[in-house]
């Protein structure tokens, strides 16, 4: 019996010294998967471990659903998860505190606002930033030049320019402005930008927690967007997420596009019809007052509480969020680093000229009301986009829906202000 035990314990020791198999669930939008795999392989090779990959849905809501399901089952099969900037609150129960395995010095390299977003009330750091995101405006340099137009400063100008170019170009496939209008998280991001840029608040006041969405400026902003559909934007924009918008813009069928920086590398790829014809600018602001605005996005890396190899998984997170990997990802895939000093790198600027120009936009991007509503954020976001979607597809009015939204959110608020 004793010998058996000895053999068993020996076996245990040898297996623990063996290579660990770490499973990462990274995204697959654009080049995400390719780059994630490349860097993870490099880490595995250097540390003598093995990698395994889980592909997750492109639609962020569907992806969160997959994680909720995996975590609810306490499933140890995923070690590292790539999570949206709005999820740490909702997923914290299932994530480990990265401070246990990662040096504070490494954590402090990143933008403090993002680290704060990923930190729980108990001080635990649940995720490290992979890249940051902010909504930006892509425009066709060649077409603006052809019609002697400047990059639109405000929404009125965007509408005029889009309309003019589409009319003059006489290309039945060309649309003025594409964005994300499908009823999913991406629409909430677009809505926040419309509101914030036109001085209509941020749905929920980040300081007081007051529901501010039902105001005359917000009604006007939503009405404006509804007017785009069927005029400067195709009707199908109501079923567009990021990749559908990029597909259309990249095929040369749109003058303007609202998207995240990841599209830059792809619209300038060899096989793109608009290679070298694209510029990136900050999104327009309200015609009378308001400011340029961008919704804060971005993805973070976290380690599942149910992982059997938290130490190795944390080390992978450390590596993937390190300056060298972030720089490489920025140059190859135009993913925005979360380390300030990298924005001064010459190679990075050469690859993504707009990173430096829009530095302030990236640093000052507007957060969605996810920290304030915590676990209820999915309900908040669903209410926002479902209500606004009704206005966009013409089945209701902005006045009615924003009033309804105010009521919905006030009801929900009772849960999180307790």
């Amino acid at each position: 019996m004793k010998t058996l035990l000895v053999i068993a314990s020996l076996l245990l020791i040898t297996t623990s010294a063996q290579a660990k198999k770490i499973t990462i669930a990274c995204g697959a939008v654009g080049q995400e998967f390719e780059l994630c795999k490349k860097n993870s392989e490099a880490w595995a090779k250097a540390t003598g471990n093995e990698m395994n990959y889980v592909q997750t849905p492109n639609d962020a809501d569907a992806r969160l659903g997959v994680f909720f399901q995996t975590f609810a089952a306490k499933d140890p099969s995923i070690d590292v998860v790539q999570i949206d900037i709005i999820w740490p609150g909702a997923l914290a129960n299932h994530l480990i505190d990265l401070r246990d395995h990662i040096d504070k010095k490494h954590i402090d390299l990143h933008f403090p606002a993002i680290i704060k977003n990923n930190t729980g009330a108990n001080g635990a750091v649940y995720a490290l930033p992979f890249w940051t995101d902010a909504g930006v405006l892509y425009y066709r340099k060649d077409l603006l030049k052809k019609y002697n137009k400047t990059v639109p400063e405000n929404w009125d100008q965007l509408e005029e320019t889009a309309k003019l170019i589409v009319e003059k170009e006489k290309n039945p496939k060309l649309s003025g402005f594409v964005w994300q209008g499908k009823s999913y998280e991406g629409l909430t991001c677009n809505i926040l930008e419309w509101l914030d840029s036109q001085d209509a608040g941020r749905i929920i006041d980040p300081k007081t927690g007051e529901i501010t969405v039902n105001n005359p400026k917000a009604i006007k902003a939503i009405e404006r967007a509804a007017k785009w559909i069927g005029t400067i934007s195709p009707k199908s924009v109501l079923n567009f997420s990021e990749e559908e918008a990029r597909g259309m813009f990249q095929a040369g069928n749109a003058v303007f596009m609202r998207n995240w920086p990841y599209a830059w590398k792809l619209v300038n790829a060899k096989d793109s019809s608009v290679k070298d014809k694209v510029g990136v600018a900050v999104l327009p602001k309200g015609a009378d007052g308001g400011k340029h605005s961008a919704t804060l996005g971005g993805w973070n890396l976290a380690v599942s509480k149910y992982s059997k190899n938290p130490k190795e998984a944390s080390d992978l997170v450390r590596y993937l969020s390190s300056p060298e990997v972030q720089l490489e990802r920025a140059i190859e895939g135009s993913y925005n680093p979360t380390i300030a000093s990298l924005y001064k790198d010459k190679k990075l600027i050469a690859a993504n000229p707009f990173f430096q120009q829009l530095y302030d936009v990236f640093v000052n991007a507007v957060g969605r009301p996810s920290s304030i509503s915590g676990k209820d954020y999915p309900k908040v976001s669903t209410a926002v986009r479902s209500r606004v979607y009704r206005v966009l597809n013409g089945s209701s009015t902005a006045e009615k829906e924003l009033k309804g939204l105010e009521e919905d959110l006030n009801k929900l608020k009772k849960n999180w202000s307790k």
Binding site: G65, S236, V237, N239, K375, P378, S386
Partner: protein
């Protein structure tokens, strides 16, 4: 001394017991658990902390417009698509029951749509519906049926019919298969007898084929209605959580997974179970009366 009947009954129960136990394990247990959760305030990430809250979840559910809208969408979808599938399926089955060259080859071929996983075929259709590069718009524009491309998946009035078309394309073969099986059981003699009596082909169909096929039709309808009432994949792949196209299953999933509301989601699941149960009951009663 037990009667032969009693002995047979005992043997029957013995033989059935294994499948009954299996059924209990895989169906009854989760079902009971769902019933239980529907009366608690459980959250998906905290199942242990659930406490009993009576019929609170059902109250929330019944007061939620979106739930009733989802029920409506599901019933509408089921009604339209199953009716079309029945008529089309019957027509195709009748055609395929006649003898013609390569009959078995054609019979195998029509099953292809049924064999493709729904998510895959839905994605294919999504591309065909595309406003910009979609095949359907291309044809319609070429034939001058429409002046400008249609946004099939974005226009609220067209969303439902776009989905119905996918479902009809996919599941009509299944209907054909079932009805074809029913048709082969009808002996040719009855048709010959009808012919001798001077019945036209049309009369022969209405008075002979259809009544004899009725039991098969009812079984086929039961299968299809069951399937349609729990529709999830086609709608979810095309529209995610869009409230306009939310079905009962999508509603339950949104509550369970996205909102983590195990209680309300379970209550919705119980309601789906009951609604489907009522349909089965109605159809079984009808079937019994017929036969």
């Amino acid at each position: 001394m037990k009667s032969l009947q009693a002995k047979q009954a005992i043997t029957a129960w013995k033989m059935l017991s294994i499948s009954l136990i299996l059924l209990m394990l895989v169906a009854a247990y989760p079902l009971a658990k769902t019933f239980y959760f529907s009366f608690t305030n459980a959250r998906l990430d905290d199942l242990e902390g659930a406490t009993f809250n009576g019929i609170e979840n059902y109250k929330t559910l019944f007061n939620d417009e979106l739930w009733w809208q989802s029920v409506g969408t599901t019933l509408k979808f089921t009604g339209i698509s199953v009716s079309i599938e029945l008529v089309l399926g019957l027509a195709i089955a009748l055609a395929l029951s006649k003898d013609f060259p390569f009959r078995s080859f054609v019979r195998a071929m029509i099953l292809i749509p049924w064999a493709i996983p729904t998510v895959v075929s839905t994605r294919i259709w999504e591309w065909m519906y595309n406003e910009q590069y979609g095949f359907i718009n291309h044809i319609l524009l070429k034939l001058h049926v429409v002046d400008s491309a249609m946004a099939f998946l974005a226009e609220p009035s067209m969303q439902m019919y776009s989905v119905v078309l996918i479902d009809v394309w996919k599941t009509t073969p299944f209907m054909v298969l079932l009805l074809l099986a029913g048709l082969t059981t009808i002996s040719t003699e009855v048709h010959e007898a009808a012919k001798v009596d001077g019945a036209t082909p049309w009369q022969s169909f209405w008075k002979v084929t259809l009544p004899l096929l009725k039991p098969t039709i009812l079984v086929a309808l039961t299968f299809r209605v069951l399937d349609s009432l729990r529709v999830f994949d086609v709608f979810y792949v095309l529209f995610s959580n869009n409230e306009k196209t939310s079905t009962m299953s999508i509603y339950a999933r949104t509550q369970l997974i996205d909102f983590q509301e195990m209680g309300i989601g379970s209550a919705a699941s119980v309601m789906i179970f009951l609604i489907i149960g009522i349909f089965i009951l109605m159809q079984t009663l009808f079937l019994r009366k017929e036969t």
